[in-house]
């Protein structure tokens, strides 16, 4: 019988946490949040503030990118995204200024300057008779110079489709409009969540978690999920919904998954533990944490980590809930007025936002989970990302 203990591959120490946070915010940023006192000399247009000011970004139908000031919780501007709504996926440049939006049914990418809605980058991935879809998977390199997508191509012959091998596509963000990939490398199927690490690798969230070097395509296993090395009579291989990329507020990649631990006979649900697990990767240090403790009593699409205590995560769906991932303890539950697929929070940990599945964003106090604000958007957020841009 194989080892079946709860595994924590590594634990983030307090010092690393601090480093990670500092790295994300950049030199000069305040850890205390919206950094209103940090208004820089090089003032940005349209009343936007740099120096670590934080903006919440989301996409609504029919297809608009929205910029919300997290200090005032006011909508600042809405940018029209060309093409049909995709999944509302957003990737943000490290300087917080460019938001890359996946449009046209997961095919095209548009990069917006969030200070003025100017489109500074575009890439149409499909061409000729090859249809290319990217499922959520977009990330920007830590230096902001490269944009990564996972492309799922299908060649449309006149009387049949031919499924082709998925690949990581690397774009130069400086190529501007109508950019073409400068490199591609084969990757696994079913990759959705990706993230760029500071070491240059790109995390590939698929059946297993892998990392690829976007310079040469070398791939390594970060941690096996579907092919994990646990006794099948003790554990059910994980199922990860793997929707929405997040973790930017603390510089991490986090992917929850569901599993079952059979404590009796396999299939004997009366003796089984139904558990949430997650893999959490520190994008600065590449350290990995994998743990299953939280009971599967809440439906969530994602966890968002409390910047002030990384053992604490929040999830949303029909309820907003707060959990200790190390002990499995439920720390709080708050009923929501409708389903919210998505969740995010500010870097100081003072505000939680839930959105998606409707046209409202609800703001909550992480300590009490009580609602503190409410934004009505112009359209349905559907599956859209809810991401935090920290404007340098």
């Amino acid at each position: 019988m194989k080892k079946i203990t709860d595994i924590t591959l590594s634990k983030l120490t307090h010092s690393i946490r601090t480093l990670a946070l500092g790295g994300l915010l950049g030199a000069g940023a305040l850890l205390s949040g919206c950094a209103v006192t940090q208004q820089s000399a090089d003032a940005l247009p349209n009343g936007m503030k740099a120096g670590g000011h934080e903006y919440l970004l989301t996409v609504t139908r029919p297809n608009q990118l929205h910029v919300i000031d997290t200090e005032t919780d006011q909508l600042l501007r809405s940018c029209d995204v060309p093409g049909t709504f995709g999944n509302g996926g957003i990737a943000i440049s490290p300087d917080g200024r460019t938001a890359y939006v996946l449009s046209n049914k997961w095919e095209d990418i548009y990069g917006f300057d969030i200070t003025n809605c100017e489109i500074t980058f575009s890439a149409k991935q499909s061409s000729g008779n090859v249809q290319i879809k990217s499922f959520i998977s977009m990330a920007v390199s830590a230096d902001g110079k490269e944009l990564y997508t996972v492309q799922n191509p299908v060649r449309k012959h006149s009387d049949r489709f031919e499924t082709m091998e998925p690949r990581l596509a690397v774009f130069n963000t400086a190529d501007g409009m109508n950019a073409q990939p400068v490199r591609t490398f084969p990757v696994d199927r079913r990759i959705t969540k990706i993230a760029a690490m500071h070491n240059g690798e790109v995390v590939l969230g698929g059946g297993d978690l892998k990392a690829i070097n976007p310079k040469n395509g070398e791939t390594r296993l970060i941690t096996a999920l579907q092919n994990w090395d646990r006794a099948p009579d003790k554990w059910v291989p994980p199922d990860a919904f793997a929707m929405h990329t997040m973790g930017e507020h603390v510089g991490e990649f986090i992917m929850p998954y569901f599993t079952i631990r059979w404590n009796g006979e396999p299939g004997d649900e009366s003796k089984a533990d139904f558990l949430w697990g997650h893999v959490r990767i520190d994008l600065k240090t590449a350290e990995v944490e994998m743990i299953e403790k939280v009971p599967f009593e809440f439906i969530v699409f994602n966890w968002v980590t409390d910047p002030n205590d990384k053992d604490v995560v929040y999830g949303s769906f029909n309820q907003l809930s707060k959990h200790n991932v190390k002990t499995g303890e439920t720390l709080g539950v708050h009923g929501l007025d409708h389903t919210y697929y998505n969740i995010n929070m500010t870097t100081d940990g003072n505000k939680l936002y839930v959105g998606g599945a409707g046209n409202t964003i609800s703001v909550h106090n992480p300590a009490t989970l009580e609602r503190t604000g409410y934004l009505r958007m112009s359209g349905d957020m559907s599956t859209s990302d809810l991401r935090l841009a920290v404007l340098k």
């Binding site: 799922n152 449309k156 009387d159 031919e162 199927r189 579907q226 994980p238 919904f241």
Partner: protein, 515 residues
Amino acid sequence: MFALASVGASSALAADGESIIRDRCLGCHVETGESATPFSRISEQRKTPEGWLMAISRMQQQRGLVITPEEKRTLVKYLADTQGLAPAETRELRYVLEKQPNVTESFEPWLQDTCVRCHSGARIGLQRRTEEDWKWLVHFHMGQQPTAELHAGARDRAWFDIALNQVAPKLGQVYGLNTQEWSDWQAADKQSLSGRWVMSGYLPEKGQFDATVHISELGNDKYSVTMDGQYADGTPLTGKGSGIVYTSYDWRGAVTINGVKMRQVLAASEDGQSLNGRMFKRDDDVLGGQVTAIKGAGITAVSPSYIRQGERKLLTISGNKLNGSVHLGAGVKVVSVVSRDDNRVVVVAEASQRAESGHREVRVGKLSSEMPLAVYDQLARVDITPSDSIARVGGGGGALAKQKSWYRAVGYAAGADGKPGTEDDIRLGYMPASWSLKPFDEIAEHDGDIKYAGTIDDRGIFTPGDAGPNPERKMSTNNVGNLTVTGTVHDGNQVVSGDSHLLVTVQKFVRALID
């Protein structure tokens, strides 16, 4: 191909079908040069009429096919006739063509896990393809429904590889293009359906009916239809319409009965002497029921199908050429004949107090009924069919109508062991019941489902609530609900109830001809 066409359709139709393929389809499909499979993809598949209609409609809507409605009808007919499914190949899966609601399927895990998590199993089982074409169908999914491999039940495994390399080869074996059943059916003698038929059936809004059906061939497998009969309560039933026979046995009828447009999906027996299937409202296909029709002499229904020891009651025997004396089996006598003609005999029957519990064969002259008459001591158990069901909210200003559900009570006597729920229970048949709803569980009770999800009428028809968010409800949820449907039968001194589970859910926004 022409041998088959000459039986029903004219050879002109066959020529038309092929020329339509040449004119309309070869912009994309290619001629293979193989005589057995002359057109790429098209010749590598066999399907039901609905299956071909779906494929051609998809080509129109998504691939730029331009085709006139008349050409489309001709092509569906041609393909269903020449590349259809044999009676033996559709027999077990007709429920999906008949649009039977609340069917619970059971398929093997390899098919269940890969295909049936999205489709009905019947949709797959009603297609025949070469292994290569099954593989192209897997490829198609990645282009047409790219997220199919990311759904629950797919994302936790190498879905595409499994579908392509394990499931498609198996489909090529189990549902391959060339089968003995199809060869046999192509070689079989085909029968015209013209003639006088008698039909019995049940419609949820009206109840049991029987009717004389005149079917007249107009040519090219097209028929005119008239229906003339009555419901169990004596209300007359008259109908008129048309029908078309695909693949020389598969009847699709469009009949207006008492002003209501109905559809018939019926399979003719291979000898052309019976038609079995379902008749339903065109605009509300849940509201329909099984029907059976025969051309020759026979009994199609006995109603009611039960008589209690010591009971005296009216029995109606429906059928064709009902001549001769009525026999109801040991211990059950015909007290008097109330009325009779060729198609319907109404008798006063009486079961003696000492008549043994059990099933009796009903005979009229030389004819015997496949459906027995049950003699019983007392009603002991009531089952509600269907045992699990779905209804869907609708209306409320939305584009989609409500999807109702309906129920019937089936009575049982306890049998020799005196214990209901055991193997020797005696099935009595459908019994009149009164209907009520209650919350299925504590959550349903807490959420007030009973108040919002809908109502059930005295015919056992459940009508769900209006669609759309309801601000009165928790999280402004739709008028969904988790309910128990209770049918209560009063029979003699017995009052017996049975329960059934009803989930009232949201609209089905994607409706396929074959789900």
